[in-house]
Symmetry: C2
Subunit: 222 residues, 2 copies
């Protein structure tokens, strides 16, 4: 098991989160990337329902997870950490320039052109459920998100992964798509649904998800 | 003037956008970066109010701007393009590892932890103005955006720029902050307001903004 008590690579995550967000918290992205390259790592777990300490905010100023520390670099933002790991291993980010930049382009597209619209639906359905404005805003938010999903669907028509080979862009995009698992939106896009299933069948993903979900049953502090 | 008819570097932008978004469309980020390093470039301008062609969607599948082509790499997503340019010039992204990854961390923080919350306010104030849900959603959206701005304010307490020296992270963050110019939100954060003013006073920024605004009075296709 790559999660290892004395590993040099440390990632922050939660040991307790509300049920609707289990399996989508963003430390999953980093766990998955590390599992893909078989690198040992150690999780530093916090209770999501308790405010983070000032010390943690020195590491992750937005007080979110994941934050990352490998003894060389201390950083935060899952997209930045994926890029950092990608630069260390061509199984996550190819060295060839055209493929590399296509992967990085899609990494940013996932973070900035797709995720905000997906998270808007999540916010409406989970965090603002029952509020009158949320119900009114939902149809427009769904329509906008579907426009973005249609672009990714089209991009996947002629390839298995966004940049050709599997890369950090796929880790990002698939973990974004998973935030719609409480809806039937993905099913309307066959290439996207197949892509998501293909990614979720990867052994590294399965291991990462299992570890993340198991952490939620651990006593605080472990 | 670095905008040059036969330049090898091509960036897409608009020659016509609605008044509320003038000065904030994202090609400004790439214009600004190119002005900082004095590289010649050519703009390929489209009418924002006319649907983009299928040919353009081959270049930028989300049909937005900017897209980028330097004869070597064809890509889209302003964050990815900033990173690409940063890797070519240490005035945009230092080579030293700790500073480099701090800049990249803040680049992603700007795109993913700050921008979505700022654009939510923009969407409420500009695109959904007059809709009942927008008025109801606004106080919560402002509160959330202010929480994110407070983090950036704190990060800027002891430095002029997010990663120490001026980098692509600042180009990103400042162009995000500018989307709140129709509000008085930034004024409540003195370090943030000073940071934004410091960035907007840079000659490269002034040139980029002037060029972008001038393009909106150009006849279509130029």
């Amino acid at each position: 098991m790559p999660v290892c008590d004395n590993a040099a690579t440390v990632v922050s995550g939660f040991n307790n989160v509300p049920p609707p967000v289990r399996g989508v918290v963003r430390d999953l992205r980093i766990r998955w990337a590390l599992e893909e390259i078989g690198r040992d790592y150690r999780m530093e777990l916090f209770d999501a329902m308790t405010p983070r300490s000032d010390e943690y905010r020195e590491w992750q100023p937005f007080a979110q997870v994941p934050a990352f520390d490998d003894g060389e670099i201390r950083m935060f933002e899952s997209g930045a950490i994926l890029l950092y790991l990608g630069e260390q291993d061509p199984r996550l980010l190819p060295i060839a320039s055209a493929t590399r930049w296509q992967a990085i382009t899609w990494l940013f597209a996932g973070m900035n052109s797709v995720e905000p619209h997906v998270l808007q639906i999540n916010a409406i359905d989970i965090f603002h459920v029952g509020e009158e404005w949320a119900a009114q805003a939902r149809p427009g938010a769904v329509k906008l998100a579907e426009k973005k999903l249609a672009v990714v669907e089209k991009a996947l028509a002629d390839r298995d992964w966004l940049a050709g080979p599997f890369t950090i862009a796929d880790i990002l995009m698939v973990t974004v798509l998973r935030c719609l698992d409480h809806t039937d939106m993905i099913a309307a896009f066959p290439a996207l649904a197949a892509y998501k299933a293909r990614a979720e069948a990867r052994p590294a993903f399965r291991r990462a998800l299992t570890e993340q979900l198991e952490a939620y049953s651990a006593p605080a502090g472990e």
